[in-house]
């Protein structure tokens, strides 16, 4: 079978599986209602178990983060036993920029300046796009603001329409990283000592982020086979963002929290850090695919024959909640952002294609990883639809058609158990999310906290509308060969 056919088959699998699950349940209820009820009971029990297990992971992850919070990472760096010297470590902080306003970028760099890590060991890269008019002048103005603060500030402008590239963040980051490599080689730096962090324009690192990253890089024996993942917290504009947007983004943070406990499944997401040497070895981020943040992990995984991991740093980077001009626009922006994230289903195609050629990775590992990606995406696209829409639909129509069925009667009871489990997890979320709350800005009423509390009631609705629907949309597009184009998330503060 030729490569194109294999690619198409791989593209069709996730979407068709998700749609099959949805339609199978509905069709089964129409023709064999009792079987459908039994299947839903098993599905709900599976999710209760999974949600309770996830809440244990959430608590453990939270505890681990708290235990690391008061570490003096900088002192630990200086005393770390490593074959590398702390003094030689240089950080490249690469900001991918499109049309974000100057003050937003400057705000993020201010956070970088205020970290406890010596600024003279940090090189800032402002990676602009040629297609954003006036990009260089804007970046120059920002660079001038921070003149002399960092070891150096480099501006790169990614030319438009480079062969083999699509319009995506990965192409810009790769172009900038290639320019940085030339710069580092000219300056005589050893790439082994360089750590690169690929940040969005709104990424504001925690005060201890770089010292914690450096320490973990120094002491990690497999530092060149490891990516380092901060905890993305979407809180920069939390007091002004609509409630539903806060819920969905806080959900993303918690998902990262939970994933961070599952080392063997953990992959890079959004802003992340890694060895520059490794980045060069794997030929940088992909330039022809959208999900650059997760694909860089899989590129490394393939390059090192499965011997590659993502290490959770448990130190936050603060980012903006994607918002639009108004409430409805925010729904659109959020939907498009989540659909872009869900486009990560292309990882399944990427992995499938490469696994077929790859002979050194054991077959069991290949299946496990493919299943991990497929399971994650198919569940993402279906679970909220099944729990929030199909189960109530079956319960409602069952009360008319099968009102005396004991199985249906018990399904209604189990369904309420699921929602109680969800409430328990939501309670955990409320308690933990309180810790990440930045100070309330002046002019914002205390009443905002009431909405912070009640916002969680939107969860079942939001999980479907801004969780499963964008994911199903992305998988359907991939299935039909209608490929998604990269839509940058508008950012302003």
């Amino acid at each position: 079978m030729n490569e194109k056919k294999i690619k198409r088959i791989l593209e069709i699998i996730p979407g068709s599986l998700s749609w099959f699950m949805i339609f199978f349940l509905i069709a089964l209820f129409v023709f064999k209602p009792l079987s459908a009820i039994v299947l839903i009971i098993i599905y709900l029990l599976y999710w209760v178990t999974r949600l309770l297990y996830s809440s244990i992971l959430l608590l453990m992850s939270h505890q681990r983060m708290r235990s690391k919070r008061n570490n003096d990472w900088l002192s630990m760096c200086k005393e770390a036993k490593s074959d590398l010297k702390f003094e030689n470590i240089i950080h490249i902080v690469l900001y991918t920029i499109y049309k974000e306003p100057q003050d937003l970028i400057a705000g993020s760099i201010n956070f970088l300046k205020d970290t406890d890590y010596p600024a003279d060991k940090i090189i800032v890269v402002l990676a602009g796009e040629e297609r954003a008019k006036g990009s260089f002048d804007n970046l120059r103005a920002i660079a001038d603001k921070f003149k002399g603060v960092f070891l150096d500030t480099i501006i790169t402008i990614h030319p438009e329409g480079m062969p083999g590239e699509i319009t995506a963040k990965g192409a810009n980051a790769t172009y900038a990283a290639k320019q940085v490599k030339i710069y580092l080689e000219e300056k005589g730096y050893d790439l082994k000592n360089i750590i690169i962090s690929c940040f969005d324009a709104d990424t504001c690192p925690d005060k201890k982020y770089f010292s914690c990253l450096t320490y973990n890089f120094l002491v990690n024996q497999k530092r060149y086979h490891t990516s380092f993942q901060p905890l993305p917290i979407y809180s920069n504009n939390i007091y002004t963002a609509p409630a539903f947007a806060r819920v969905i983004e806080t959900g993303s943070t918690f998902w990262q929290f939970i994933e961070g406990m599952r080392y063997e499944k953990f992959i890079t997401f959004s802003s992340h850090s890694m060895s520059f040497k490794t980045l060069v070895e794997v030929d940088y981020w992909p330039v022809d695919l959208i999900s650059d943040d997760s694909l860089i992990f899989w590129k490394c995984f393939l390059k090192f024959k499965g011997d590659y991991k993502t290490y959770p740093l448990d130190i936050p980077v603060y980012m903006d909640i994607a918002v639009g001009k108004n409430w409805l626009d925010t729904v659109k922006v959020q939907y498009k952002q989540k659909r872009r994230w869900a486009w990560g289903v292309e990882n399944f195609v990427f992995l499938g294609q490469h696994f077929l050629k790859e002979k050194e990775i054991p077959l069991t590992v290949k299946f496990r990883k493919l299943y991990q990606v497929l399971d994650g995406h198919v569940n993402w696209a279906t679970w909220a639809i099944i729990i929030s829409f199909i189960t109530p639909l079956i319960l409602f129509s069952g009360k008319i058609l099968l009102k005396d069925s004991l199985a249906l009667f018990n399904l209604s009871y189990i369904n309420s158990v699921v929602f109680h489990s969800l409430s328990f997890i939501l309670f955990l979320c409320i308690v933990i999310s309180w810790e990440f709350m930045p100070p309330r800005p002046k002019g914002i009423s205390r009443l905002v906290y009431v909405s912070f509390l009640f916002q969680w009631l939107l969860t079942p609705f939001i999980s479907a509308v801004l969780g499963s629907f964008p994911s199903l949309d992305a998988q359907t597009r991939l299935m039909l060969g209608k490929y998604l184009s990269f839509t940058p998330t508008p950012k302003s503060r």
Binding site: I37, V38, L45, L52, R262, K403, D404, S405, A407
Partner: protein, 309 residues
């Protein structure tokens, strides 16, 4: 805590939850379908369930004479398929007893409204001889209008007070003959088969204040009547004709339609000001339905007049 402890705890939780899922799922599914393992016969038996909802709640349930632990609303599971006697009991209510049948894998849903025991009934605190009473519904409340041997009264909702609205004392026979009472714009309009009366119940008193004024006396019988024409007129069907009576200027009336049959009926829709008449066609001898739209008719007449000018 070191990484290895987190790893250990995570793996332990994973296997515990997986084990719980693998063991509990078949048990719960079988239980949901009504299966119960009978230790004596060492067999799975198919059972049914009884779901009881009541108004009011918290009722004690007896099943074949045995008191159930849970008050209503409650579900009794694992019942072997057969007939049972269910008794619902609560102090102050009549006990509810019925026989139900439990079928395998099915739930018997009972939704019961319990009747309270009537111990003593409340009596109004005034010494009237009540001839007749009417309940007049208003938007949020109800009023009780009573025709008594001392006049016509409105009773308060809590029966603590009575407001005299008319000095008029009808005989018991006449009061009992009253069929309909309407309260409208501080007026009380009521009629029996022969007569229609009106009482001004506004606070402003006139010379005839608080006395019932005869509004109309029918040649035959008042069959039905409606308020209409911006609620100023009473539209009466007396079996011979349709007559409209001005309630603001007593004595002013208009005979607007002569009915062909004494069994003819009318209906007046005050919202759209349309009069519907079911009347017999003299040519065919059959009943037909007629409609008179009052407002367009007024416009039509005005237009005719303008044309003449």
């Amino acid at each position: 805590m070191q990484e290895k402890y987190y790893s250990f705890l995570r793996h332990l939780s994973f296997w515990l939850f997986s084990l719980a899922f693998v063991i509990l799922t078949p048990v719960i599914v079988y239980y949901s379908l009504g299966y119960k393992f009978d230790i004596k016969s060492k067999k799975f038996l198919k059972t049914g369930a009884l779901s009881i909802k009541t108004f009011p709640r918290a009722i004690t349930v007896y099943l074949d004479g045995e008191k159930m632990g849970e008050l209503t609303p409650s579900t009794i599971r694992e019942l072997m398929p057969r007939k049972y006697n269910v008794v619902l009991e609560k102090e102050g209510f009549y006990p509810y007893s019925m026989e139900i049948e439990i079928k395998p894998s099915l739930v018997n849903n009972m939704d019961i409204f319990l009747i309270p025991k009537i111990k003593g009934i409340e009596k109004i605190k005034f010494n009237f001889n009540i001839y007749k009473f009417f309940v007049i519904k208003q938007m949020f409340t109800e009023k009780i209008l009573v025709f008594t041997d001392k006049g016509i009264y409105f009773l308060d909702a809590d029966w603590e007070g009575a407001k005299k609205i008319s000095e008029e004392v009808f005989t018991e026979a006449l009061a009992n003959s009253i069929q309909v009472v309407i309260e409208n714009n501080n007026r009380l309009i009521f009629w029996n088969k022969k007569n229609a009366w009106i009482v001004d119940i506004s606070n402003e008193k006139t010379s005839n204040a608080n006395m019932a004024t005869l509004l109309y006396t029918a040649e035959r019988n008042i069959r039905n009547a409606f308020l209409g024409l911006r609620e100023r007129y009473l539209i009466v069907n007396d079996g011979l004709k349709i007559i409209v009576l001005d309630m603001d200027n007593l004595g002013v009336s208009f005979e607007i339609y002569t009915l062909n049959n004494s069994n003819s009926k009318i209906f007046y829709d005050a919202r759209s000001e349309i009069l519907y008449i079911r009347d017999k066609l003299p040519q065919t001898g059959t009943f037909s339905l007629f409609r008179i739209e009052i407002m367009p008719l007024i416009e039509e007449r005005l237009s005719d007049e303008r044309k003449k000018d």
